[in-house]
Amino acid sequence: MYPPLTGATYSPGINADFWLLGIGFIEISAIAGAIEIIVGVLRTRAPGMTLDKLPIFAWAMLIFAAMIIIAFPSVILATLLLELERALGWPFFDSVKGGDPLLWQHLFWFFGHPEVYIIFLPAAGAMSTIIPAIARTPLVGYRLVVLAMLATGFISFGVWAHHMFTVGMPTMSVNVFSAASMAVSVPAGVQVFAWIATLAAGRMRFNTPGLFAVGGLVIFVAGGLSGVMVAMVPFDWQAHDTYFIVAHLHYVLIGGMVFPLFAAIYYWTPLVSRRPLSERLGRWIFWLMFAGMHLTFLPMHLTGLMGMPRRVYTYLPDWGWQTTNQMSTAGAFLFGLAVLLWILDMARNFRPFGERNAGNVYDGPGLEWLPNDLYSVRSIPVVKSLYPLWDQPDLARDVDAGRYFLPDNPTGGRETIVTSTMNAEPQFLLRMPKPSGWHVWAAIFTAGFFLLLTIQAYAASALCGVLAVYTLVQWCWLLDKPMDQPAVDIGGGIMAPSYASGTGSHGWWAMVITLIVGGMVALLMGFSYVFLWSSRPDLWVPPPGGLASPDPRAAGGRRLAGLGGRQGPRPRWAA
């Protein structure tokens, strides 16, 4: 989606508009989900679940959600600006009118590289959950793994320009981004060593989730090694935009996300369907997928090193790329066969008839394996360790007997306990939303607003926007009524308030996080303004009631122009 190829001149029609508005729409929904996850993890944990007893998967989701809050505004802004340029002719990226196509690359990759870790971290959290269960031993280095995930999230925001080594940035910028790119392998390595140590410390079971976890580990390490190679600038200049990069990113994403995802599907499906997936088929699926993956992407490294550019699928017969490409094609069919078998197994597993009585098939230690019916557990337990079902043998029985919090239903509606952020002490009873149709209509009209924009039906889109706001306000009105019960019994005679305000309330936290998203968009818009000004200061006119008159070629202006490629060496292809 790089401008100028995606501008109205080279991409006429509505195809690019669909993509741009679709991305904007889906990122907004992802941000809404991230706000839910952050508030949920920090404020509605089981009593006693202090941060050092927080399941590793919850830590991963918390960091993942925080990264979404910081990174996704960037792609929302990028797609918004490009759409404005396409629809209204506002020149952000059009160099003929003074815009700069490199602004797109900065905005896109400020989102794009953290996105790699946004994809990876939940899968890493799943690996850190599944590996202890299949090895039947606690995760080695729990605190180190948490710190490693935090470091991954933090460093990932300082590496975006390693996707732009060939645009001609100043040497200093290239060095900094190269060093940061290599540094991010350290926390990833910590997690990998923790998984290996856990497998070594326990008694490994080679069931299907175990095979996918170990297979993912092997593939991810291979992808990480080629990642260190492309973090080195001289090598990256050679491999940039070739199939070597395609091979590298697939090793990272298949090892770091797809295999852990399949491990997670096999591990947690019995929780959803109350039936385990087939072990026999699962082993076939794993080996077909593992072999197919390597057959597809291992030769692709060579294809890239032989010079085949990425995003191109045709070539002349005498260029020597045929054999490796044919191997890749055969491997892709093997992978596809594995996915087909898995779809058949999923259809068999979720059939609407037959017996459903599977319980904790893999002896998982987490609270998700507590007995629950349609909505939730009978009572909310007090957590005393990181692995409650292993360390508290009577927990499931006591929860089911209603011996913990909220065994009854004091308000008569859906409710849960809000606990303190650090120590998970019960603070108040939160009333959950009742069933309603308003949020469904709000979702339909919001979708209509974005979809109608793509076909430039502005009046109908505006109408949907107004209706979306109306239905949202109606939904808020239903949820937001004065409380008449000042305090309620949350179990064992303990009285808790049923209302909170200020920093204690859920709404306050959600609003603060929402405003961080707004602030990120505003900051990045400010970056875009200064970037474009520093690229072409001659086009700028004095504003109404200006405050100062700095020389754009001094200080910040010079640096941003450097990021824009004005000072670095010209790439060889431009010479």
């Binding site: 918004l80 404005l84 506002w90 009118k97 305000s501 609003m511 405003l515 303004y529 006119v541 100062a548």
Partner: protein
Amino acid sequence: MMLAAAATLLGVAWALDLQGWADMGLRPSQSPQGATVAALLSWQGLFVLVSAIMGLYALARLARGYVRAGQPATFEVIGLFIAYGAAQGAFAAALPRLFPGS
């Protein structure tokens, strides 16, 4: 009432800024400066619009008798949003005046 008044002030400030840029003839389709200033103003305009809706919502709750002593969560959240809108508006107004300056 305070919240509704604050939302109104936010809207007035935004309209004055918009007027200032329109009077000097800056057009969004003519230059990157016009485009980015228009984008900043549009983003701020979205916050003004949402603040106005929130202000009306607060007034509707007041009229309906949904305001109770000791239950201020809704109004705190609306207040947070409007306060942020004011800070963002100051940023959007100051940045194009600092770069390039007069």
